[in-house]
Symmetry: none
Subunit: 241 residues, 2 copies
């Protein structure tokens, strides 16, 4: 996962409360992220930041402090800004889950991503938003949208962790091409023979069983290697029936 962690950078812009910086570092580390940049924090370094970071003080120690967004995001190929606004005419706004997909795609293509988090009270200003390619908005209660800065960091980092793990799962898919529908049909047919030979299909509603098995297989999006393995298992079973 190191290509993942080292190519996503969280940038906190003019944070007022050092406690939030510490809590953000902790939130990032729990989700396996470690690249933190601070743009002109109000109070930093700070004992409060270190205290709230708990065991994530290594993230703080490694955090670079700069006085401009430009230098913070200099190497990034994709810059996303977090916003509380519902609409924007100038930038596409994504929910965290969709944004996480964008981020993964960018990194898989060799890019580097910065995610900007604005001031506690006022967020990112227009000039800072102008540095962003796209925006992320966490869906909140319209009657109370006051998400804490570290809580926003936690939610985005959580979605990134989920997607980085599911992408890792899909790495297996890349090893081998996906199974064709014909391959899947042949497997289900072989399984059908086994279910008939063992009497399983008499017990239940055969049509429903076949339907559920097909759906399960479709959802798994198996590779042809995996289908071959399942065929092998069924062949071994049929030899012993």
């Amino acid at each position: 996962m190191s290509f993942f962690t080292s190519n996503i950078e969280f940038v906190l812009v003019e944070t007022s409360h050092p406690g939030n910086i510490g809590a953000a570092a902790r939130a990032m580390k729990t989700m396996g992220l470690n690249q933190l940049r601070l743009v002109t924090p109000k109070v930093y370094p700070s004992a409060e930041a270190t205290a709230r970071a708990a065991g994530a003080d290594d993230i703080l120690a490694g955090a670079s402090v700069t006085d401009s967004i430009r230098s913070a995001i200099g190497e990034s190929t994709l810059v996303l800004g977090t916003t509380a606004r519902e609409r924007s005419e100038k930038w596409p706004i994504h929910a965290p889950r969709a944004a996480a997909q964008l981020v993964m795609k960018e990194i898989e293509n060799g890019g580097k991503v910065s995610i900007l988090f604005g001031r506690e009270r006022s967020g990112l200003d227009n000039q800072e938003l102008a540095s962003c390619h796209q925006l992320i908005r966490i869906p909140v209660n319209p009657d109370y949208s006051s998400l804490n800065l570290a809580a926003a960091v936690q939610v985005i980092a959580y979605e990134l962790r989920l997607i980085s793990q599911s992408e890792n799962l899909q790495d297996t898919d890349k090893e081998s091409e996906l199974a064709s529908m014909g391959d899947q049909d042949a497997l289900l047919e072989q399984l059908d023979h086994v279910m008939q030979e063992t009497g399983y299909l008499e017990l239940d509603h055969p049509g429903l069983v076949r339907f559920h098995l097909r759906r399960l297989l479709l959802r798994a999006v198996p590779t042809s290697k995996e289908i071959k393995m399942l065929h092998g298992i069924l062949r071994a079973i049929r030899k012993h029936l």
Copy 2:
């Protein structure tokens, strides 16, 4: 959404830091949740809790304080406990997304749900876990799993908000609750027996076969109904071997 908000209760058990109680209230309110219960908090009420709650002090004002879990969850039909442990033999453990589906289903069926959050350092004790029907585990960095209490509240509340807003749940998910990791493990174990009894595992690299089968199953995100069906098929096979 009022049926949603009034039937989900977050229960904080023996919280040490009042700041975390305030931050948890704020996290809940940003996601449209408002039912908070506190079981023997160490320091409460507290100016720090109120300060960290920001504008969510109404959640604090409405929070009931009790001295036992039993009275806190008395009216609930489904009790979920949050845990940092990877495995449990006694309770099914769900990821937040799957747990949110469980919660919605329970509420749609007229139930009431309590979600328990344990102490900052030690979580829920065994007796408290015994009050839970199922557990929730937020996927974290295995090298640093120290999620802040309010951050955990934020992640769970976020998933609940997403699911309460998405009307188009995948139809497969609606049919049946998702299988727990324990259910999946038990199925893979049964399959392992079949592969041993038929000699399949001798043919290949057993570790690799098990690895691929587990990944395939994980990717399919099976429901417990589907797992039961697969168990039935394997049982029928084993009878005939």
